[in-house]
């Protein structure tokens, strides 16, 4: 086979693969998203070009459901989780990377093991605890559970990222008389900014992605988060609210997707250095 022919075959296979994969990715998203703008009362999403385009679904979404409350609730939890979790994870990740102290080794192994225990293992206990503490339908316990659950894995990733930052800076600062806190805040913190951004985004996304816990701990319709709230719209196709679901899904996904693309450059370095090289 000549060089030219084999190169041609490579090109065809390459672009064929990329093209088909792109269609497979785009189609389901387009079907859902386009249904949001079509005439209402559908029972299933479809992709049509000659539909009656309009914003009726969004109007109905705001007037007939508690969508705006769900949105607000999710944002409140997301911001709380983000602030607390990123703080705790950064502090612990830094210490595990830079200091050698009694209990360090077992803590790291413990963190690794504990993040493999499924949330389900804790569900009954959370439920009873919430009942005892009167925390059903309130956000503080739910937020604390998200934060606690996110700590182990993310401390590992954060530690891995701190490990990639040379220690020479610390040493010279220490010689200049800088204390623990100054070395941490002024020297190391600015250098892990990309990882902080990734951590913040992941922590922020927790309540957007969790279905199980919020379904368990939240009962009143106006107090639900987006995940559980939107599910009430699509769980019964006969109610003909799937178009409302589509509209709500578009509004919920949009800010996350935008944030994602702003931060996507950081993912590569955050994942490969933090996750692997230890």
């Amino acid at each position: 086979m000549s060089m030219k022919a084999s190169r041609l075959i490579n090109r065809i296979l390459t672009y064929g693969f990329l093209g088909i994969l792109s269609i497979i990715i785009i189609y389901p998203l387009l079907v859902t998203a386009s249904s949001a703008f079509q005439a209402t009362n559908m029972a299933a999403f479809t992709l049509k070009l000659d539909a009656n385009w309009g914003l009726d679904n969004f109007q109905r979404l705001f007037s007939e459901t508690n969508y705006l409350s769900w949105y607000k609730n999710t944002i409140i939890i997301a911001v709380a989780v983000m602030i607390v979790q990123v703080t705790l994870v950064t502090l612990s990740g830094y210490v595990f990377s830079r200091y050698r102290f009694v209990g360090r080794k077992y803590s790291l192994i413990f963190f690794l093991v504990i993040q493999m225990v499924p949330t389900m293992a804790a569900l009954t206990a959370y439920y009873v605890l919430a009942t005892v503490l009167g925390a059903i339908d309130s956000y503080w316990l739910l937020s604390l559970i998200y934060i606690g659950g996110g700590i182990p894995m993310n401390v590992w990733l954060m530690k891995g990222y701190f490990d990639t930052i040379p220690r020479e800076f610390d040493e010279s600062a220490r010689i200049d008389g800088a204390g623990h806190l100054r070395i941490f805040v002024q020297i190391n913190l600015p250098l892990v900014r990309p990882m902080l951004a990734v951590q913040a985004l992941w922590a922020f996304m927790t309540p957007f992605n969790d279905f199980l816990l919020s379904k368990f701990l939240l009962r009143s319709n106006e107090l639900l988060t987006l995940a559980v709230g939107l599910q009430t719209l699509i769980s019964n196709p006969r109610e003909q609210k799937v178009a409302l679901f589509a509209a709500g899904a578009v509004l919920a996904a949009l800010p996350i997707v935008v944030l994602f693309f702003f931060l996507q450059k950081n993912f590569v370095s955050g994942l490969t250095s933090g996750g692997s090289k230890g």
């Binding site: 705790l88 225990v117 009954t124 699509i234 679901f245």
Partner: protein, 433 residues
Amino acid sequence: MSKNETNHKQKASLLSIIPGLGQFYNKQAFKGIIFFALFLVFAIEMALTGFQALEGLITLGSIPRDDHSLFLMIKGTLQLILSVIFLFFYILNILDARKIGALRDRGEKINTKTLDILKNLWEQGFPYIFTFPSYILMAFIIIFPVLVTLFIAFTNYDFQHIPPFKLIDWIGFENFTNIFFLSSYRATFMKILVWTLVWTFGATTLQIVLGVVAAVVLHQKHVKGKSFFRILFLLPWAVPAFISIMGFSNMFNDSIGAINAQVIPLINHLPLIDIPAISWKTDAAWTKTALIMIQGWLGFPYIFVMVTGVLQSISDDLYEAANLDGASALQQFRSITLPMILFATAPVMITQYTFNFNNFSIIYLFNEGGPGSIGWNAGSTDILISWIYKLTTGQAPQYAVAAAVTLIISAIVIAVSLITFKKTNAFGNEEMM
């Protein structure tokens, strides 16, 4: 030898059997007050409610309606954790008195002023101060519920024993033996276990293969529009998973879903192809196929991003040297690219397997574990984790059995991951493992 004129070390340790006294003896009044106060608070708490709580954990109550077994268990478990934390403090207190006493024996200077003690704490205890909040949070958010689950697995807590009307009792290993030896349970458990394993390996391997292939294909030098495809391939990760899954659930509807109503007719326009409508939601085998494909769609971008990062970090020199040696593209892939990828991403790939093993959302949101039933509340596509959910929330809740199954799967996951972590030397550079 005048070495042991003083024996502060022993005296201080002995005195600190009551926390604080040893520190007072060492002339560290500030520390002494704090330690003694902590001891006093714990002692009072213990006398007022603590002993009762621990006792409740052992008996789980004796009078139905008056004693709520579950609350007793929760309170007892919290008290247990509190006691362990106090035990840590107690040991710390003795060690501290001992250490300072030893310093005094050697005639070294010790800090007696409050300010100096605080300064020393900040200098020496910095790592502990920084990690303390994480530990406390994890003790109550992770350890506590896991302990409760552990306890429940050894009780008879089910729909026939709902407190406060009935008491819960300790029954030892009965739940575990039932799962393995009671034939009706065992049949369901084994069926679900087999599908859980097929699901975990099928879905995860699909997403890994797809992610690696996409990254490698896109990384070829001649490909145009790299950044466009890179952003496009990120979309399934960026869109919150529950939205995609619910969308898919609707699209795979047997009669009106977009796949049967639009995609298959479209494919049938191609020559020689004639696919009938597929019963995605009512035929278990097809539901399983759909689930694995959807998870491939949802999960590959994560792998793709990671592998792309690794590929970008492999230096071109390696490939140039291989080119000089006349290695073919395939040979280069097998002996340079693939090993590099696997080396750098093995731990994350393992976490992908454990993630899917416990991937509740997709199973529950796509078809609620259905179609059909295979006994004990389970549907034909339920994996262990969604079965546990149904055992807990179904018509006749089996909390204790659910807890026992949870323990079994946690043990499996932890054992398998730890072994693979060690085998792949995932944390090779970390001196601790």
